[in-house]
């Protein structure tokens, strides 16, 4: 595409033809135009008269930088560059040289967008690095999006969560601008931000009919009541991500109420702030209600707990589908997982310990009939048990990511034979994950 732009420029400045340069599909019309007239002046008017719809179509293929170059070619092309359709989506990248290696969206471009295109914006995200200035810059832009009717807003920290370092009121007031003005927000990602209950109320007051997706993991200023308000009012909510401390029986019941659409997916992060933290329990009946109301819903749970904090979990059946243990999890807990997670689709275990997980894995193969993905980090499994596990799961295992160190050779299988055995049962070539050993 860039080659095309340069060629255009050359034509317009009256250079000789270079009809050998390649062109892609949509460029055929250009080729014809070129061939029709060799006179630069004539060509210029032809290029300039190119219908805006064609320009729009072409520009949509160009990355922003190339589009910006193209806009310098002529007035007509500059006009096309500013067509609303090209400004529906934007991702603001806010980085400081002192804290990031990546380039930021140019401040002049940001000014231009706010000035000329803020009312065109519909799908917006902000990517900020770990510096407070970047988070501030994001809030600054947010506060100016008064004419916007956003459908999507994402506040994404790419390193340390810098939104959390802002004065809370500053952040809230910027966010509220969007909530109040948009009125048709469908998707909102505000993980790792200081959003609070009152601002959620504002969100709900203005966007309850349209909100479908809300991701707010690690938002410490929100209380269970705050999120309950969202669940009660936003009946179209299909995707929700939050921390365990916000989860309550009431919330699950609200999401399962008749007025509510089917929930598609619920993500819960269970994070320990201090060793020995106590966690509340959720009643089985609440989970049952969820499953009855939304039989296909996915429950994704990420655990970042110390080994001895798992007390309240996996004592009863829980409809979890995707389970991730980010820290060491005991053999006993994995045993309970096998017993109580019949809907399990993916299991990822970061670390376990030095006792083999043979029985636990076999039980999981037996009872988790929907399991298609498993990942094991620092664990131990005997080769025989592992082969048995794979045999029982068979071809449904589409993801099998086992660190090489996990597999303990025994009488029946050594490390060299095991990958053939496993490949046989999986129906494809398989090797364990390896780490360089030099």
């Amino acid at each position: 595409m860039t080659a095309l732009v340069y060629r255009m420029k050359r034509v317009l400045s009256g250079n000789a033809d270079d009809s050998n340069s390649s062109s892609d599909g949509p460029m055929d019309s250009f080729k014809r135009l070129r061939q029709q007239s060799e006179d630069p002046a004539d060509a210029e008017s032809k290029w300039a008269c190119l219908p805006q719809e064609i320009l729009l179509h072409i520009f949509q293929y160009l990355p922003l930088l190339d589009r910006a170059f193209a806009s310098q070619v002529s007035r007509g092309w500059n006009h096309a560059f500013h067509m609303p359709e090209l400004w529906r989506c934007f991702e603001f990248e806010l980085n400081q040289p002192a804290s990031s290696y990546l380039k930021a969206t140019h401040p002049d471009l940001i000014k231009q967008i706010i000035k000329r295109h803020s009312n065109h914006l519909q799908f917006v995200s902000f990517k900020v690095d770990s510096s407070t200035e970047s988070a501030e810059a994001a809030c600054d832009i947010l506060s100016q999006l008064v004419n916007c009717s956003l459908k999507t807003l994402g506040l994404i920290s790419t390193a340390r969560p810098s939104f959390m370092e802002l004065p809370k009121s500053h952040f809230i007031s910027a966010l509220t601008v969007v909530f109040v003005n948009s009125k048709s927000l469908s998707s909102l990602k505000i993980d790792d931000t200081p959003v609070d209950d009152p601002s959620l109320k504002v969100l709900v007051a203005n966007n309850s009919d349209t909100l479908k997706l809300l991701k707010m993991s690690s938002c410490p200023h929100v209380s269970p009541a705050g999120i309950l308000c969202v669940a009660d009012q936003c009946h179209g909510l299909r995707e929700l991500a939050l921390n365990y401390h916000l989860l309550s029986d009431e919330l699950l019941l609200a999401l399962s109420s008749e007025k509510h659409v089917h929930l598609e997916h619920l993500r819960i992060d269970v994070v320990s702030e201090n060793p020995g933290q106590q966690f509340h329990t959720i009643k089985k009946s609440s989970w049952d209600a969820m499953v009855r109301h939304s039989p296909k819903f996915n429950l994704v749970m990420y655990f970042f707990l110390y080994e001895d904090e798992f007390g309240p979990f996996f004592r009863e059946e829980i409809p979890v589908t995707h389970l991730y243990f980010g820290r060491s999890v005991s053999k006993e807990v994995l045993g309970r997982v096998g017993m109580n997670c019949p809907r399990l689709v993916e299991l990822v275990v970061c670390a376990n310990g030095l006792r083999p997980l043979d029985e636990e894995l076999i039980r999981i193969a037996e009872r988790c009939q929907h399991l298609t993905a498993i990942g094991l980090g620092e664990c131990e499994v005997s080769c025989s048990a592992f082969v048995e596990f794979v045999k029982m799961c068979g071809r449904r295992l589409s993801q099998l990511s086992i660190m090489e160190e996990v597999l303990i050779p025994d009488q029946k299988f050594g490390l060299d034979e095991i990958h053939w055995e496993v490949s046989k049962h999986l129906g494809r070539v398989w090797f364990p994950d390896m780490m360089p050993t030099w």
Binding site: Q60, R88, C89
Partner: protein, 567 residues
């Protein structure tokens, strides 16, 4: 026939299996072996004391071996492009030989020297002996691309012709009638420098350098030591009669007298010799069984990274490196310094970094632990920074292997799953429950009982008092909250990989683009279709068409476009 030969030592610091040297000798009247001390060699950014000392010991050993066959080593300071034209004239050189260097900077430097040699009418002889195979042949077998997974690499290896036998050792017999003109002032002009020398390139030594560190080296450099170690290494394997990968235990963390990696890197030990000796031993012990590829693990990993790097001058960078995922790493010099200097407050990490600084070697699992901690595990700092620290301190870290390993360990390339994060407390505790390793390298923590030695900040004040070490005063507090950091980081990794693979599902494992091991690899773009979308809930046709793409995405697009799938 006749003529004056010069052999240029760079790596390959040995007289055994040195085909370039052996071929140079054939029919030559004189031979001079040179080593050029090139302080400005572009490939390495900094060299630590351990590396200098090791290198100088290698050179001493070479000189001693050459003395035994009536020759000497000529150590010359300067840049090769300046030195060689002078030598060609002064010594009336007719033939120049050197071992092939597969690294991009090496190839560039050698091309320049080749040109100078051609201009001076000097014949150039290059032989491959730093790697098991001709790397270009491996790449050719893979359709012109370096393989990006170890599995793929292994399958290519199994289809290559057999490894060439090591060349005969250079002895007085092999020298034949070839002589080396040695002047009386050879030691002054061309002698191997010593670290204690006041005139030595002291500006290259780090500021914290202390004379103490010059004493007993845990890893003595040189071919002689390398060959002794090789025998010991094989003896131990034979005695154990077990060629499986040894189980990791507390002892593995300590430097072993049979460790070979630094010797392989500097070329004091020929990888081909090691390969054949391993093969012979295996056949003897296992009664003529065909050895599995895993037997050569250490050698093949090294070979893998050399192959991956040879055609990629940006291999040691993130930006502009077609095989490296562009990650939004944090710039944080303060945090980096704490990690590099062993002041993180996590004894496991600090002990490892201390061993590294003091001795120049750490176990590969220790490398995984500290690399994970610096990058995707806890500090979210760029792998390039870690690579530079290893380059300075680690004896066996050369350009290709070091950069490649760091990309691997930080999950920046090679299709690595990123879900497993090494815990800076748990991992160490599982490896060495007693904590002896910690006590050895961090004596300040000696007084802590095993229960608390990996997380001393959790020890009650009374325990800390008894240990005469108050956390926060005598030993730093932990610099991050690991649970919090790893939670955030796994989310970041997932964000990046989801964008890369355009994966919209819920699985964690599936976010890493898969690489079909059957017939080669899909590109790192995998299912990626180009610029990533703003989020998953977009509506309307305008969304797909009107995506505004920032420079980050441009990187991805370029990256996707450059690396094409194998056919």
């Amino acid at each position: 026939m006749g003529g004056n030969a010069v052999h240029w030592f760079r790596k390959g610091l040995r007289l055994h299996d040195n085909p370039a040297l052996r071929d140079a000798l054939r029919g030559a009247d004189t031979l001079r072996c040179v080593y050029i001390l090139d302080p400005w060699f572009a490939g390495s950014s900094s060299v630590g004391v351990s590396r200098w000392r090791f290198l100088l010991q290698c050179l001493e050993d070479l000189d001693a071996s050459l003395r035994k066959i009536n020759s000497r080593l000529f150590v010359i300071r300067g840049q090769p492009t300046d030195v060689f034209p002078r030598l060609f004239k002064e010594w009336k050189v007719t033939r120049l030989s050197y071992e092939y260097d597969s690294e991009p900077f090496g190839k560039e430097r050698d091309a320049a020297i080749r040109k100078l040699a051609n201009e001076a009418g000097v014949e150039v002889m290059v032989r491959i002996s730093h790697t098991l195979y001709d790397l270009d042949k491996i790449i050719e077998l893979n359709g012109g691309q370096s393989p990006l997974t170890y599995k793929r690499f292994q399958s290519l290896i199994s289809r290559m012709d057999a490894v060439e036998m090591p060349a005969e050792t250079i002895t007085a017999d092999v020298m034949g009638r070839c002589t080396t003109p040695i002047s009386d002032d050879h030691d002054d002009k061309f002698g191997v420098p010593s670290l204690e020398e006041p005139g030595f390139e002291s500006h290259l030594l780090p500021l914290w350098f202390e004379v103490d560190t010059l004493t007993t080296a845990v890893w003595p450099g040189g071919e002689t030591e390398a060959l002794t170690r090789l025998e010991r290494h094989l003896e131990r394997k034979a005695w154990v009669a077990n060629f499986e990968r040894p189980r990791m235990n507390a002892n593995s963390l300590l430097a072993s007298p049979t460790g070979l990696s630094p010797y392989l890197r500097f070329g004091c030990l020929s990888c081909r010799l090691f390969y054949f000796k391993l093969t012979d031993l295996y056949r003897k012990v296992k009664k003529n069984c065909v050895p599995p590829l895993s037997l050569y693990g250490q050698l093949l990993w090294r070979e893998f990274f050399y192959t991956a790097a040879t055609n990629n001058p940006r291999f040691d960078k993130m930006e502009g490196n077609p095989i490296c995922v562009q990650m939004p790493w944090d710039r944080n010099p303060e945090a980096l310094a704490k990690w590099a200097e062993g002041r993180t407050g996590f004894p496991w990490i600090d002990a490892i970094m201390t061993q590294l600084r003091q001795e120049g070697w750490i176990h590969h699992l220790a490398r995984h632990a500290v690399a994970c901690f610096l990058t995707r595990g806890d500090l979210w700092i760029s792998w390039e920074e870690g690579m530079k620290v290893f380059e300075e301190l680690l004896l066996d870290a050369d350009w290709s292997v070091n950069a490649g390993s760091w990309m691997w360990l930080s999950c920046s390339s090679f299709f690595q799953q990123f879900f497993h994060c090494y815990c800076p407390v748990g991992f160490g505790r599982r490896t060495d429950p007693n904590g002896d390793y910690i006590r050895r390298y961090l004596p300040i923590l000696r007084g802590f009982p095993s229960k608390y030695i990996y997380d001393p900040w959790n020890a009650p004040e009374s325990v800390q008092k008894v240990a005469k070490c108050i956390i926060g005063v005598h030993y730093p507090k932990p610099m991050v909250n690991h649970a919090e950091a790893s939670r955030i980081n796994i989310e970041r990794m997932k964000q990046i990989y989801q964008q890369l693979s355009c994966y919209r599902g819920l699985g964690l494992l599936a976010t890493v683009p898969s690489n079909s091991s059957n017939n080669g690899e899909s590109s790192m773009s995998g299912a990626a279709a180009g610029p990533s979308s703003v989020d998953s809930a977009q509506e309307g046709s305008a969304a797909a068409a009107g995506r505004a793409v920032t420079l980050l995405h441009l990187h991805l697009t370029t990256f996707c476009g450059k690396y094409l799938p194998n056919s």
